[in-house]
């Protein structure tokens, strides 16, 4: 594991940039633990101050320090993305591995359901959830809903790997040595799909954070928990762009874009690492 990361850092520019961006964002999130202001308090600093030595990223019209507000917001947003990604991984691993290994009618039924979840436009469904739940909608609840909707694409990916694993010799050996299906999947197949699971985790985080930002910006979420989307929502409510308080919108947007690009670049470089052909060509060992 250590060597892989070292290799990636050495040979892969995308990975380096991605790690750099994510480190910045995570530092920002970590700083929230040292915030001098409680995250939900308003009018703790003079409102509408531009970025200065006192207030590094300025202050909002609600009298909050953008820097400290941003640090708690990105922490919540990252935690949200991670929660959705981890929960939905459970579903996609179970569905992907069992569908690929068992095949037959189990595979057909699971994949029919799987394809349905890929095709269905989820955003209207999420909006419908908010419409019905209204004020009972919390960040945790949204994470649960989104993880039960956003597993399908990745389980198809895992299934395709599991299908080829099934034909490998060691699977036959495990069957003959009397391992149960669960044991085979967990001890023999799971390690092989772990790299893919890792890269899909990052992509899934991007997906869920993107949806969270969008929902919050429209006000279709618990907007009292500070998140990146919530910050942009309040800035829009106070017409920050028109009023010239650009720092209220710009810094959250920059932070979230850094998160997206960072996660994406890491995911892409890991995918490339998994595929030995592109790894060879990158290290100068391939034909082209």
């Amino acid at each position: 594991m250590k060597r892989i990361i070292f290799d990636l850092l050495k040979y892969n520019n995308e990975f380096r940039i991605g790690v750099f961006l994510i480190l910045i964002v995570m530092t920002m999130a970590g700083l929230s633990f040292f915030s001098p202001y409680p995250p939900n308090d308003v009018f703790v600093v003079p409102p509408d101050a531009p970025p200065s030595a006192d207030y590094w990223l300025g202050t909002t019209s609600r009298g909050q320090d953008v820097f400290w507000q941003l640090s708690i917001a990105i922490r919540n947003t990252l935690a949200f993305g991670l929660l959705v990604a981890l929960l939905s991984r459970v579903i996609s691993i179970v569905v992907g591995l069992s569908s690929g290994y068992l095949g037959g009618w189990v595979d057909r039924v699971l994949m029919a359901i799987n394809d349905t979840f890929i095709v269905i436009p989820l955003f209207p469904i999420l909006i419908l959830f908010y419409f019905v739940l209204r004020d009972s909608m919390s960040t945790i609840l949204l994470a649960l809903i989104m993880s039960s909707l956003g597993w399908a694409y990745d389980s198809r990916l895992i299934r395709s790997v599991a299908m080829s694993l099934k034909t490998r010799e060691f699977t036959g050996t495990s069957v003959f040595s009397g391992m149960t299906i669960f044991e085979i999947l967990r001890r023999e197949h799971l390690p092989y799909v772990l790299p893919i699971i890792f890269s899909t985790t990052l992509n899934n985080m991007n997906w869920s954070i993107g949806l969270e930002v969008t929902l919050a910006v429209l006000g279709f979420m618990d907007i009292n928990t500070p998140t990146i989307g919530g910050m942009i929502y309040w800035a829009n409510q106070h017409t920050a762009i028109v009023a010239g308080i650009w720092w209220w919108v710009t810094f959250p947007v920059l932070t979230v874009v850094a998160t997206f690009v960072g996660l994406y670049l890491i995911a892409v470089s890991i995918n490339e690492y998994i595929d030995p052909r592109s790894r060879l060509s990158r290290m100068g060992g391939g034909q082209s």
Binding site: E14, A112, I113, D115, T116, F117, I118, V119, I120, P121, L122, F123, P124, I125, I127, L128, F129, Y130, F131, V132, L133, R134, S136, Y153, N206, I209, G210, L211, V213, T214, V217, L218, F220, I232, I241, V242, V249, V253, V256, V257, F260, V261, L263, Y264, L265, V268, R277, S278, Q287, S288
Partner: protein
């Protein structure tokens, strides 16, 4: 031909399943949650002013009838499906007494036009550029485009649309940032109106294309760079096949099949993006209708748009699936 027939039946079945599961999710959300949508609608409507208790009781009764909340759950379920199949979502609360169906019918062409245009452009341009970038790997400008696509691709629609709006609406105000056409132009098939529609759709279309093009570009580039190392391509190269022919019938043709499947799989996501983009630019399509419906507490409208979205997206996926054998003839041979 029987092979194609089998294939079509399978796809048709998948379409029915998607619609069935999708509509059932909508049913479960609206009926099994502890919060009563009727009470929600009533509190949304009555929060704006004084309403007499009789009027509220009257409203409650008619809402319960409208949304099929009468009788036990089997009756409710059947009447829910009847409404969906008849495309009858009752009158809209926010635009009373206009029926939801007519609101949707008015918004549908806008969304369809915007989506069809932007998807077609970003898919074909992204794939073409991606194929070129995979083939001519050392071309400077294509490499630069690759970096750009990589940086832009993971950013969500909302952020791109907001940035475009700030740039072209406030910093350099040259394009209209809201509406589907100019207010003072008569709607119809006249030159002025068509021009105005195009002018207003530049920013929403641009933001959808900017996000969409990247994933096709990146996907096609990696597909093509894998294909050019295949034996048959190397053989054709040695055999002196003309470069344009190589590109067209040896490389792109083969790389296109997964990209068409990818298009079918990502239509739902593209629709999600359009919802947000429309809302930001005040484009008079389904997305704006949906979001405004939520703000106004209009249950019938929200349910109607959600159902139409599910059916519309899965129908488009079906169409793409059915023309897929044209690109990948292997489908016709397989069982």
């Amino acid at each position: 031909m029987p092979a194609y027939f089998n294939f079509a039946i399978k796809r048709l079945w998948q379409f029915v399943l998607v619609v069935f599961i999708g509509i059932n999710i909508a049913y479960v959300i609206t009926h099994v949650t502890p919060i009563d949508p009727v009470e929600q609608s009533i509190s949304a409507v009555t929060s704006f002013g004084n309403t007499s208790p009789e009027a509220i009781a009257d409203m409650r009764r008619s809402l319960q009838e409208l949304y099929g909340l009468k009788g036990d759950w089997i009756e409710q379920y059947i009447s829910f499906w009847r409404r969906i199949l008849q495309a009858d979502f009752g009158p809209s609360l926010s635009a009373f007494p206009a029926p939801v169906t007519s609101l949707i019918a008015r918004a549908l062409p806008w969304t369809f036009g915007l989506l069809a245009f932007t998807t077609l452009v970003s898919w074909s341009v992204g794939n073409l550029l991606g194929a070129l970038a995979g083939y001519y790997r050392n071309n400077r400008s294509l490499k630069f485009f690759g970096v750009l696509a990589m940086a832009l691709h993971p950013v969500p629609y909302y952020i791109v649309a907001l940035s475009l709006m700030i740039v072209f609406g406030f910093i350099w105000p040259v394009l209209p940032i809201t509406g589907g056409s100019a207010m003072d132009v008569q709607q119809g098939w006249n030159w002025q109106f068509v021009a105005s529609v195009f002018h207003h759709s530049v920013l929403p279309a641009l933001s959808l294309i900017m996000i969409g093009i990247g994933s096709w570009f990146l996907g096609m580039r990696s597909l093509v760079s894998n294909i050019i190392t295949e034996d048959y391509v190397v053989y054709a190269e040695i055999g002196g096949v003309a470069q344009s022919r190589m590109m067209g019938s040896y490389i792109i043709r083969n790389a296109l099949a997964p990209q068409v499947t990818g298009l079918a799989m990502s239509l739902g996501g593209i629709f999600n993006g359009a919802v947000i983009t429309e809302k930001i630019f005040g484009y008079p399509g389904l997305g704006t209708l949906l979001v405004d419906g939520v703000y106004a507490g209009d249950y019938g409208l929200v349910l109607g748009v959600t159902s139409i979205a599910i059916i519309g997206v899965s129908l488009s996926v079906l169409v793409i699936d059915l023309i897929y054998p044209l690109i990948d003839p292997r489908v016709q041979v397989a069982s």
